[in-house]
């Protein structure tokens, strides 16, 4: 076996990835049992593992995967239906394979566990399912699946999508031959024995966008290699040094007029080095980045199992799985996020009967969203469950002696919620298998804070809970502003910078006036009050920048910084330059100060500290935006309230789209739009997107397309590649009273009241099947 060791290791790594994919595919298949492509992919994966286990002589693994393959074969041939029993058996197969692989990884052998009974169980499930099928005819008896997963974007349900092009047969299926998408022949044609089933490769038809992107994906997989992480790390470090040297070269040449005169080509060369370095830097950084999907991909299975255990129904929505972050961070956030997801299902989402009694849908909604914001990655875990019982938390905090009853009564809700991060804090009435032991939230926070991140929680009784995890960039090259303050220089991450405003004397009295509000300086900026923080005062350093007093006019530059919950102006002497900096770690004792996110080295070799806008906002006690900004930008708590995008339809009607369904707003020039039956199709990011006419959807009356360009509301990818054509985008509203569902009809979710006007809300989910249909009908195959 020694010669094989390397192959075995490779097999283990590959299989681990495949098993994760299997979990995902099986849960998705449960939702959509007719997804033949997915079934084919599952079949192939199991087949591959079986093939490899034969090659390495892992008999037990071979036996159980053989049983699984048989079951899948029956399923594929339409001899059995995917009911709960079959799905359960297939998922337990994944677990069994995983446990054997774990054993192999640890001991090099399959171990003594007896899987004979398991193989028999698989056979029994297969027999029973066959009998059910024969007795019940073709009636599908499945109940609504407990978990619905919407990861992929293309509509894969229609039989029209199944590939009809000629198939290329390959003679044997070896472990490594995972080429392009295999397509299992439709029932009736694929009579090959399942154990010797050759993998069939099919070239996807060029017109089918989803097939194409999948083929591209597997092509990418073939062109990738595994690289030692240490090597990548040193590569990134070296590039960092190169960036610094480049900056130094740049400033030296620019400041040396004589040098430029003597060597006229020098500037050109420097420019070239500049360009190449920038590209190299981007490429090197990309090597460390991985999509957060690596963490998210486990959740459909976890949520499904948990929902079954708890007797709940949960719809899991995943968004932004392609958000990339540093690989080292992916590992760190895996456990905390898993914990939060488990919490949401176990504690957050209510039992179906409770939900129905509360006027909610029986299935709870759990959504995971990842996105980049202000140079950070934010992961949002949001459920529409019962929310955190604030009073229970309050009482618990008192009974645990964390605060006195009087203090507790005084505390605002968001402060009370912070107690759940205390070690051993749990309000769960009973301890379940899943959670409720009170270990957890404190560990979540500790782990996230250890990497310099933060965890925020907002909850509304009866409406749900949002937990927001922010992960900073720890090691990266980021664009930054270099500012001066007295004799000091600091770097401010560009991501947090909204705008720069000069506080010149001439501006005094105009729109940029510095005022005092209860002793705290503020600035009036376009009708809003912006809190100001004078960096020199905060740091106790001598500087030029000053606020206005009776005798002085203000001086300096205001750097308007914005994080999700704070916005303020940081007043410095001047802004020197904007450039890419290498974020270098600083010792823990300095991070603990809260003011600094790291340090960098300038071109001249000097060390410059990187300011942490969040820490500065805290230290300067900048009030959160909702308080300082009267009108109230949404805080986390407000987001529990549904928000809607109000638009004018092509025919001039006012309609609203739930904001959570909106991915972005785009305008397309007329010549990019193909039209058919009042609807339109556009190419976006190499994919086809169907753009439905809102009037046609809701009122069956398409509006002629007469404008030079088309404004479209592109919906979240989880709904498919679809958008809505509108005439104008009006505003985002958060109505005070919830949506009135009494007035719902076909395609209409209900109505919301905005300024006394009733506006219909499009039921995007209900109208989408139609929209996806559009794409199929309109795009010639």
């Amino acid at each position: 076996m020694n010669d094989n060791e390397e192959f075995v290791r490779e097999f283990l790594v590959e299989s681990a990835e495949n098993l994760d994919q299997l979990d995902r595919d099986l849960v998705a298949l449960e939702v959509n049992p007719r997804d033949e492509q997915r079934l084919a992919s599952i079949f192939r994966t199991v087949h591959t593992i079986k093939g490899s286990s034969g090659f390495f002589g892992f008999a037990k693994l071979g036996a159980i995967t053989h049983g699984g393959e048989h079951l899948l074969g029956q399923l594929r041939d339409g001899k059995i239906d995917l009911d709960d029993d079959v799905a359960g058996a297939l998922l337990s197969l994944v677990d069994a394979v995983r446990s054997i692989l774990d054993r192999i990884e640890k001991t090099g052998a399959e171990g003594d566990d007896d899987f004979h009974g398991f193989s028999q169980k698989l056979a029994r499930v297969s027999d029973e399912a066959t009998r059910r099928r024969q007795n019940g005819g073709v009636v599908v008896t499945r109940m609504t699946p407990p978990t619905e997963v919407s990861l992929s974007s293309a509509a894969t349900e229609s039989p029209g999508i199944v590939d009809q092009s000629p198939r290329v047969q390959t003679p044997t299926a070896t472990a490594g031959s995972s080429g392009e998408d295999p397509v299992i022949p439709s029932p009736g044609t694929g009579k090959a024995s399942h154990s010797e089933m050759p993998i069939e490769l099919a070239a996807p038809p060029p017109s089918h966008a989803a097939g194409q992107s999948r083929a591209q994906k597997s092509l990418v997989a073939e062109q990738s290699i595994r690289v030692d992480l240490g090597l990548l790390g040193s590569l990134v470090d070296l590039v960092g040094e190169l960036v610094l040297a480049r900056n130094q070269l740049d400033s030296t040449v620019r400041h040396s007029a004589a040098g430029q005169a003597e060597h006229p080509d020098l500037l050109k060369v420097v420019h070239r080095i500049d360009t190449v370095t920038a590209s190299l830097q981007a490429a090197a950084l990309k090597t460390r980045m991985q999509p957060i999907e690596q963490v998210f991909s486990k959740f459909p299975r976890i949520v499904r199992d948990l929902a079954v255990t708890c007797g709940k129904e949960v719809t899991l929505g995943i968004d932004g799985a392609d958000t990339e972050l540093d690989r080292s961070l992916i590992e760190t956030i895996r456990d905390p996020l898993t914990h939060l997801v488990r919490n949401a299902v176990d504690h957050g989402i209510e039992l179906p009967e409770v939900r129905l009694a509360r006027g909610k849908s029986a299935a709870g909604k759990l959504s995971l969203r990842a996105y980049h914001e202000s140079g950070q990655v934010t992961v949002e875990i949001r459920d529409d469950g019962g929310g955190i019982p604030v009073d229970a938390v309050r009482n618990k905090a008192v009974s645990r002696g964390l605060v006195t009853a009087e203090q507790a009564a005084m505390l605002p809700e968001d402060r009370v919620l912070q107690f759940i991060f205390e070690p051993g804090f749990s309000t769960a009435a009973k301890v379940t298998d899943v959670s409720g032991r009170g270990v957890g939230m404190d560990v979540v926070r500790t782990n996230i804070e250890a990497i310099g991140g933060s965890v925020d929680i907002a909850s509304r009784p009866g409406l749900g809970t949002i937990v927001r995890v922010r992960i900073p960039l720890t090691l990266a090259i980021i664009p930054a502003l270099i500012v001066t303050c007295g004799s000091h220089r600091f770097a401010i991450p560009q991501a947090a910078v909204r705008e720069l405003i000069s506080l010149r004397a001439s501006n005094a009295g105009s729109s940029v006036a510095v005022e005092g509000l209860e002793g705290a300086p503020v600035m009036r900026l376009r009708g809003r009050l912006l809190p100001l923080v004078f960096l020199a005062d905060l740091f106790g350093i001598e500087a030029l920048a000053i606020g206005a007093t009776a005798s002085r006019t203000p001086r300096g530059t205001v750097v308007v910084l914005r994080m999700d919950d704070h916005e303020f102006g940081l007043v410095v002497d001047s802004v020197a330059v904007s450039e890419d900096i290498v974020v270098k770690p600083i010792v823990a004792a300095l991070v603990a100060l809260g003011f600094y996110a790291g340090a960098t080295v300038r071109g001249d070799g000097a060390v410059v500290l990187i300011l942490d806008p969040r820490g500065i906002a805290q230290a300067a006690q900048v009030p959160p935006r909702s308080q300082s900004d009267g009108a109230g930008d949404a805080t986390a708590a407000d987001e529990i309230l549904d928000r809607y995008l109000v638009c004018e339809s092509p025919a001039g009607r006012l309609v609203a789209v739930p904001l959570e369904d909106v991915a972005r707003l785009e305008t397309f020039p007329r010549d990019q739009v193909q039209r058919a039956a009042g609807h339109a199709v556009v190419h976006r990011e190499r994919r086809l997107t169907a753009i439905a006419d809102v009037d046609a959807l809701l009122y069956g009356s398409p509006t002629p397309f007469d404008l030079p360009s088309m404004i479209a509301v592109i919906l979240t990818p989880t709904l498919g590649d679809v958008g809505l054509r509108v005439r104008r985008i009006l505003e985002v509203v958060a109505p005070e009273s919830p949506i009135n569902r009494g007035l719902s009809g076909r395609g209409v979710l209900g109505t919301i009241a905005v300024d006394g006007q009733a506006i219909e809300v499009i039921d995007v989910r209900a109208t989408i099947p139609d929209t996806a249909d559009l794409l199929k009908r309109q795009v010639p195959a």
């Binding site: 740091f539 270098k584 823990a588 300095l590 100060l593 003011f595 600094y596």
Partner: protein, 157 residues
């Protein structure tokens, strides 16, 4: 009852330096390099003992003013940097002058006298006689740890 002659007596190799006219020492193994004063970047609201940050070939290293750390009057001179590494973090100690690197038999190292106070008491974990006087052996961990406390205290303020 014959006792075996002792093999080589255990020794500690230490690097000695001068701060405010007194001799101090740290374990030589932790010393990475020594160089004459260089430019540092001050850290506003940082621990008082940190004079600033220095760029050590791309690595950011805080420089600890040992006069302040040990409770002496600060000096205007640039001093000499002794870069130490412990617990995965590197610091530079700014001292007045370097003395030498010597091997000290462990048996000659004694407990520090009770007389010392403040920063010195935290940091000193042994005393031995050399250079015609006493040399105080410093605990590197204690030097660094004290800084952390200062930082946290400041944060809480």
């Amino acid at each position: 009852m014959t006792s075996l002659p002792p093999a080589v007596a255990p020794i500690r190799r230490v690097c000695t330096f001068v701060v405010a006219g007194r001799n101090f020492a740290v374990d030589a193994a932790a010393v990475q390099e020594v160089f004459r004063g260089t430019m540092t970047t001050p850290v506003p609201r940082g621990p008082a003992a940190i004079r600033g940050l220095l760029n050590l070939r791309g690595r950011i290293v805080p420089a600890i003013d040992m006069r302040r750390r040990l409770g002496f009057d600060p000096s205007a001179g640039e001093g000499i940097h002794v870069v130490l590494s412990a617990g995965g973090e590197a610091y530079s100690l700014i001292v007045d002058a370097m003395a030498d690197v010597i091997d000290v038999p462990v048996t000659t190292i004694e407990k520090p006298s009770a007389g010392v106070e403040g920063g010195q008491r935290e940091c000193i974990d042994g005393v031995y006689a050399a250079h015609g006087g006493l040399v105080h052996l410093l605990s590197i961990e204690a030097i660094f740890a004290g800084l952390g406390e200062t930082a946290t205290e400041r944060k809480l303020r």
